[in-house]
Subunit: 200 residues, 2 copies
Amino acid sequence: MDVLVPFAAREPKTRLADVFDEDERAALSREMLADVLDAVRNAGGEPTVVATAPIELPARTVVDDRPLSDAVNARLEPPVAVVMADLALATPAALRALFGTDSDVAIAPGLGGGTNALVVHHPEFYVDYHGASFRDHREIAAEIGAEVETVDSFRLAVDVDEPSDLAEVLLHADGRSATWLRRAGVRLVVEDGRVRTSRR
Amino acid sequence: MDVLVPFAAREPKTRLADVFDEDERAALSREMLADVLDAVRNAGGEPTVVATAPIELPARTVVDDRPLSDAVNARLEPPVAVVMADLALATPAALRALFGTDSDVAIAPGLGGGTNALVVHHPEFYVDYHGASFRDHREIAAEIGAEVETVDSFRLAVDVDEPSDLAEVLLHADGRSATWLRRAGVRLVVEDGRVRTSRR
């Protein structure tokens, strides 16, 4: 399975600016990408990173500075998967289940209505990541008469965008992203309700 | 499969106090419980609600006013499942996958380190819902030599505790909880980043 992995090479993860400075956010985003690439390969996928700017990466990389949806649609030749670069909890098992679907379109939703990963078998399908993309992708599929399957995975639902997501990485992942976070002094804080993180 | 469904009959969902008054929170928690009971039954489970106070419910109900963990442990006779009452996204398919596990202990983690659902086959296992219970349950299992399986499900990972969780219900559920939220004027707000909700 060919797998596109879009990657923001410039100023990634701005919603983590309260926790990390710009260099740190760039470093963390690289660790997460490396974790995703490992999981994709171990699930039998052949990743191509679609980067917004020239960057040295341990994977086949193409540069496309257009908006995310345009850059992906230019390469959406079925069968193909698209997996976001910030799925630090992704496991080979979760991706294998996604890659193994045979519906026209299979979507792994992200927290807050996003589309964290999808597999496209239908030649007319196209992506639109702006806004509530999970809903929009279902509508696009309906318009072209494509059958949609939703893949139910917590590990694919957590993209690391906001500070509360860091807790999920420390709780459930043991790859480079989790190691980087621990070295950066990020720790779990257990109080009432959901576990949070703090940085010392 | 016998399924315990703990239910806070008094002052539920205090973390939603910014959105709903006390009566509304009680009503929403009842709708979520009804959705969970439907999903449990459709997955082949036989639910028993463990309520903190006497309450009229459309299911077999026992009253136990002790803390959650004590009330559950008093009834934890394997094979048995425990499913939280606020899993408004739970589907029969997700619960069937959980109920079908045959490990000593199978855990479906919740956002923020919780334990949203579990199946117990090991006679010495006990629950401790205080704090980061996903981690604690793994430790308890290790102490008694029980094998643990983690069930990867987004639909079981979302418990409705915080305002951001309401968006997940409107995005992914179509049961009584989603209907109740819509009638209460809760709407999706699509901006940059994750979809949120507002109430008019």
